[in-house]
């Protein structure tokens, strides 16, 4: 083993630490609350989890793409807008993904 490599023991500690930790995060409410009734105000917030967190996840990736080292990129920005416009207008996930991929591919080809 040379200095650049990841030690085998470290690797397995990370794999299992991350695996157990991730499972704990995923089971915490499903497992602990189960079928107990949740108060209406909690349910009211939970209804918006997906609609809130997915845009929160995507927005920084769109504005500061990793591929351009965080520099805003017109091609990726436009591809994101096209994807969202189709997804929102036509409520069709597949059509939106194809639009986004095609716009991105065409834009990258055009400007490369």
């Amino acid at each position: 083993m040379n200095g650049n490599e990841i030690a085998t023991s470290t690797l397995w500690i990370v794999i299992f630490g991350l695996g157990i930790g991730s499972f704990a995060l995923r089971i915490v409410f499903l497992g602990l609350i189960g079928d107990r009734a949740l108060p209406p105000w909690v349910l009211r917030h939970l209804r918006y989890t997906a609609a809130a967190i997915l845009p929160a996840l995507v927005a920084p990736l769109v504005v500061w793409p990793a591929a351009t080292d965080g520099e805003p990129d017109p091609v990726r920005l436009f591809a994101a807008l096209a994807t969202f416009a189709v997804a929102f207008s036509f409520r069709n996930v597949l059509a939106a993904m194809i639009t986004g991929a095609a716009t991105l591919g065409f834009g990258l080809w055009l400007f490369s």
Binding site: L18, S22, V28, T49, V58, F84, V93
Partner: protein, 237 residues
């Protein structure tokens, strides 16, 4: 979404999740290639994907280990990225909390961005029982999670023979934006999405990717507030 009706929930789930093959496949390949470059064996690469089953967190942990960050820092940083899974878990509880514990453990293990988003998109409006929702969920797992293992394995095996620069970085944003669109059915959902995105951008400087959690919580509060306000307006004076 394809038309509903005669199809079983499981088949419906498989069909709805099929487009994600285009995202998961290349992403898994990439993880396989990158992990081999970091010095992992094929068995270690595959184990990583099977045990952890969370792309962004795996890439983060791998990067930190390659940079020789302390083990605890590598685990904690990657777990911070996975904090959103706890919110997914809470969000699925009203739909799947009635299932027996072993089924809930299955759901929890397979609760990734794509399977969660499809569940969230479909469960609220569907007349399905918890058992049918479980079958739909396992349907979405089939073309998302298993290809994740297989593509990791292929990537690890083929290694650098696979080109990795084809705009793949942007597959994830496109896939999620495509799913967010149909979720925005009401002004409350739109408020949640808009607030979530804006707050996540404003809070992007926070350490450990916490901007995502802050943005998500702010969006949930915004959605709940708008819903409540609209209900009040609808009440007869």
């Amino acid at each position: 979404m394809a038309a509903r009706g005669v199809k079983s929930p499981y088949r419906q789930g498989v069909l709805d999740a099929l487009p994600f093959l285009a995202v998961v496949g290349p992403f898994g390949l990439l993880f396989g290639v990158v992990s081999r470059e970091a010095g992992l064996t094929i068995f270690e690469s595959l184990s990583f994907s099977v045990v952890v089953i969370a792309g962004a967190a795996q890439f983060t942990a791998l990067q930190l280990m390659s940079d020789h960050a302390p083990t605890l820092v590598a685990v904690a940083s990657a777990l911070a990225i996975n904090l959103r899974m706890a919110m997914y878990s809470a969000s699925m509880t009203p739909h799947l909390g009635h299932l027996p514990l072993w089924k809930r453990c299955f759901v929890a293990y397979f609760l990734v961005d794509q399977t969660y988003a499809l569940g969230a998109l479909n469960f609220e409006r569907s007349p399905w029982s918890a058992a049918e929702k479980f079958r739909y969920f396992m349907g979405t797992v089939t073309p998302v999670c298993f290809p994740w293992y297989i593509s990791t394995l292929i990537g690890a095996w083929a290694g650098s023979a696979i080109p990795t620069d084809f705009g793949l970085d942007f597959a994830v944003p496109i896939a999620f934006l495509a799913m967010v669109g149909p979720m925005l059915r009401t002004p409350a959902h739109m408020a949640a999405a808009f607030t979530g995105a804006v707050v996540a951008l404003l809070a992007a400087g926070l350490p450990f990717n916490l901007g995502l959690i802050v943005g998500g919580l702010a969006g949930m509060i915004a959605g709940a507030q708008v819903e409540q306000r609209m209900e009040r307006e609808e009440e007869p004076a």
